[in-house]
């Protein structure tokens, strides 16, 4: 059976403006980069990356952007949600010095991978990009695990002024990076892919999801690659061949929407 398991909120924490992390009891293993389908009964069920994981507890970190995330935002300790998963493939960390580039809420889905890299004693440089200072989060958490953290904001309110991808370009020039891992706006990731040339590259994609079981076809990119099952993490070599990447996604009806 692959149905939601009901669990209740244990903590709800404000990370930044409009961004929260909630945690709940949900036992089992998770690979960094995997996601849950989160059911808010009576509202919707949406995909959310696992941003926090212990043997018995898990957490997600999200921006309040619509009905479902608003409902999640308003949940209090003890409120019930349904979780199924984890789904998807997750990252495979290779090399000695890894560069992580998280744009927007993208850092939420990179967090566990970064912590895993540090646990494996790999060197991790992390770029967190946000529109503006008060949307930044996980800076402290990432420093705490021993990563080198760089920050960019579009408006320059803190850190590097400009896109995270531009900051990454600088880093790539200065340091020897073995592999790049990214999650964020797709055009940013596409730009980054251009910059990284032969360096191994993995990006986590977001597509509208329904089944998350690899069945309905809603989330497909390229030649039927299911973001929910074959992804959400794809190698740069694969992404280079996919013309959808950075260009369009599909809404719930299947219509193409340009990024």
């Amino acid at each position: 059976m692959n149905i939601p398991t009901i669990t209740s909120i244990v903590t709800s924490f404000n990370e930044a403006s409009d961004i929260k992390t909630i945690t709940f009891t949900y036992p089992g293993d998770v690979s960094p980069g995997q996601f849950f389908m989160v059911w808010i009964p009576g509202v919707d069920e949406i995909p959310m990356s696992v941003s926090f994981a212990t043997k018995t507890m898990k957490g997600i970190t999200f921006r309040n952007v619509g009905d479902a995330t608003l409902a999640l935002y308003q949940l209090k300790k003890g409120d019930k949600i349904g979780i199924r998963g984890p789904y998807g493939n997750g990252f495979s960390l290779k090399g000695k010095h890894l560069l992580f580039v998280g744009g927007g809420t993208g850092i939420a889905m990179l967090a566990l991978a970064i912590e895993q890299a540090r646990k494996k004693k790999l060197k991790a440089t992390v770029i967190i990009g946000a529109k503006t200072k008060n949307q930044l989060f996980f800076e402290g958490r990432m420093r705490q695990c021993g990563a080198t953290v760089l920050v960019s904001t579009d408006d320059g309110s803190t850190g590097y002024k400009g896109y995270a991808s531009e900051l990454a370009k600088h880093v790539l020039k200065e340091k020897h990076i073995d592999a790049i891992y990214t999650c964020g706006p797709e055009q940013m990731m596409k730009t980054l892919l251009l910059y990284c040339k032969t360096i191994p590259f993995q990006a986590s994609l977001e597509r509208y999801m329904k089944c998350a079981l690899g069945l309905c076809g809603q989330c497909c990119i390229g030649k039927g690659l299911r973001v929910c099952l074959d992804g959400p993490v794809f190698d740069g070599t694969v992404l280079k061949k996919i013309k959808d990447f950075g260009v369009y996604h599909r809404d719930a009806s299947g219509r193409k929407i340009l990024f």
């Binding site: 059976m1 939601p4 389908m37 069945l215 030649k223 690659l225 009806s253 299947g254």
Partner: protein, 302 residues
């Protein structure tokens, strides 16, 4: 390899495994992957005149012995979807355009467009168990169904298949009605009405509350539908429902199906399920000294 070719009306299939409607057929890429994985024909998702978002999630869950879904016929509308079909122009595999509507006029419009975009046949979805006004309401209204089929048959030259529901009582009558209206084949079955309630919240899990039950659990239901139709009505049948292995497919052929469609098994065995099933059919045929599929079709009642 034995000969796995089969024929349904004017369509020649190199093998009898078709992709069922609504699964991995949102865009040209997914359909191409299913072709590459060995599907003998592709049925598109059910397309209507206008874009529809379908229901909110949860739309699909897996139960103990099957899948439960209530998508709500999401689709971008025939004009946008036409491009996906056109992009498949070069494939040699038959593409069957599934369409839904509430009346004959809209069905005709859709069928003509499907033919125009290059579909090799149309499949009328008059059996969706969870979309109000479309689906079952149409399939269980004998005179409306007759009108729809005849109108379409007068306007297009590609074959017309009609997909029916196991949720109707007088299955054989309905099948006879479909045959009398000159449809070229019957597709049986669509999903069975079902529901799953979450015990902790007391709520039906699907946003639409009720949904359609598919997958392994419904095979015996599909087999009996195909058998009852095959025994009583002289029309080609495409069997669907719970087919996961080559042996499941063979059971459908024996019941009277000339081809099969595969949906939920993509969850159980991945997109390679088409190749797997073809291989299993081939092995079974050879082990039992059959040279081709035709010898098997209807074995259970002939």
């Amino acid at each position: 390899m034995t000969d796995l070719a089969t024929t349904i009306s004017a369509l020649q299939l190199k093998n009898p495994t078709m992709l069922a409607s609504g699964i991995m057929d949102e865009d040209v890429g997914s359909m191409q992957r299913m072709i590459d994985c060995g599907a003998g024909a592709i049925v598109t998702k059910s397309i209507g005149l206008h874009p529809r978002e379908g229901y909110l999630n949860p739309t699909v869950i897996e139960l103990e012995y099957g899948i439960l879904n209530a998508m709500g016929l999401p689709n971008p509308g025939i004009d946008i979807y036409g491009k996906e079909i056109k992009a498949l122009e070069k494939t040699k595999i038959p593409i069957i355009g599934s369409i839904f509507a509430a009346n004959a006029k809209d069905f005709v419009t859709l069928a003509i467009k499907m033919q125009h975009f290059g579909a090799n046949a149309v499949e009328l979805n008059v059996s969706c168990p969870h979309a109000k006004h479309y689906g079952l309401e149409v399939g269980s209204d004998a005179s409306l169904l007759r009108e729809i089929i005849s109108s379409i048959k007068h306007q297009i030259h590609i074959p017309v298949f009609v997909k029916i529901s196991p949720n109707i009582m007088n299955l054989v009558e309905v099948a006879q009605n479909i045959k009398n209206a000159q449809a070229d084949a019957i597709v049986a079955i669509n999903t069975v009405k079902g529901m799953k309630i979450d015990l902790e919240t007391g709520q039906p899990i699907l946003a639409n509350k009720t949904g359609g039950y598919s997958g392994k659990a419904i095979k015996p239901i599909g087999i009996r539908c195909v058998y009852d139709i095959a025994q009583n009505v002289d029309i080609p049948i495409i069997g669907v429902g719970g087919i996961t292995t080559g042996e499941d497919a063979i059971e459908y052929f024996m019941a009277g199906a000339s081809a099969v469609q595969i949906g939920s098994a993509i969850y159980y065995r991945g997109p390679e399920v088409f190749k797997h099933i073809c291989k299993e059919i081939d092995l079974w045929l050879r082990k039992h000294n059959y040279k081709n599929l035709y010898e098997l079709i209807g074995a259970a009642y002939l």
